[in-house]
Subunit: 150 residues, 2 copies
Amino acid sequence: MVDMARWGPMLETAGIRVTSQRLLVLEVLAAHRLPVSARRVHAELQDRGATTGLTTVYRALASMTEAGLVHAFTHMGEGVYRLCGSASHHHLVCRVCGMVAERQEDIVDGFRAEEVYGVCATCESAESGSRRCSTTTGATADPPEVTESR
Amino acid sequence: MVDMARWGPMLETAGIRVTSQRLLVLEVLAAHRLPVSARRVHAELQDRGATTGLTTVYRALASMTEAGLVHAFTHMGEGVYRLCGSASHHHLVCRVCGMVAERQEDIVDGFRAEEVYGVCATCESAESGSRRCSTTTGATADPPEVTESR
DNA sequence: GCAGCAATGAAAACCATTGTCGTTATCATG
DNA sequence: CATGATAACGACAATGGTTTTCATTGCTGC
Ligand SMILES: [Mn+2]
Ligand SMILES: [Mn+2]
Ligand SMILES: [Zn+2]
Ligand SMILES: [Zn+2]
């Protein structure tokens, strides 16, 4: 039911137990290029007929994040997760349209950036320069889900 | 009771009503260099003898953020707010020790960065290079409050 | 003064996340 | 294969920051 051969060794290498639930969560994560919420992972597991509880999804994501297999951050007020590549990198997250992009280059000297929140070029030009100061809360558009990079 | 002369014009310019509660919130924000939570603002208002409710604090912060007077973002799972300077800038936020620094320079081409989450130099060197991949959740230290910039 | 509308305060609702606890799975060992 | 130790699971309750509801109050312009 689960592609054990593919994800099992990864969990072993990370030093955490191989369980069917973790393997399932990994499969769901692998099916998405972009970050997904715990809630979403759980829903897709239900669709597959798995009986895994939401609590367990949270714990699986937490343990695998802890182990360095999963990259986690907060997007629009809820936690999102994605499979972690080997290289160090950071995310650009647009607070207006929800776009997420991955970048490799170091951007700040003396600081290892992981998640960079701001406004993408598209939304920047679309925003008629009205605000006195840039803000972070209250998206002006309605961002449906994490969207494509660029 | 409130330094009306100082903050009144700011609210008027922003196009929102001048209320005693908003003036009080502005005074509390002005008393801090670093971002404070709604809860914290409320507590300090209580200390001053104000009867302002937490709900109103949230609404005042929301309206002033909307109006561009306040800069808001999320820190360690809760919203934090601070008075917004006139110049565009971004914050460096260390997810390990909670340090917040402000920077002016643009750091990413084609993206206006507002909040940059990552690991500061101090915590980076302290972290014995064990993790396979950098993560964002689960601070390894216990970060008490927003701390000083560098 | 009065209609109209925004702002307030208290309480309840919301909702993602975490804790509890009894049960089950995993793994090493005999 | 049986056993015991330990980690993980599942269902559910609890938590905590934030938002909504709703009745009430306070401006604002007429
Ligand atoms: Mn990533
Ligand atoms: Mn700022
Ligand atoms: Zn955008
Ligand atoms: Zn730090």
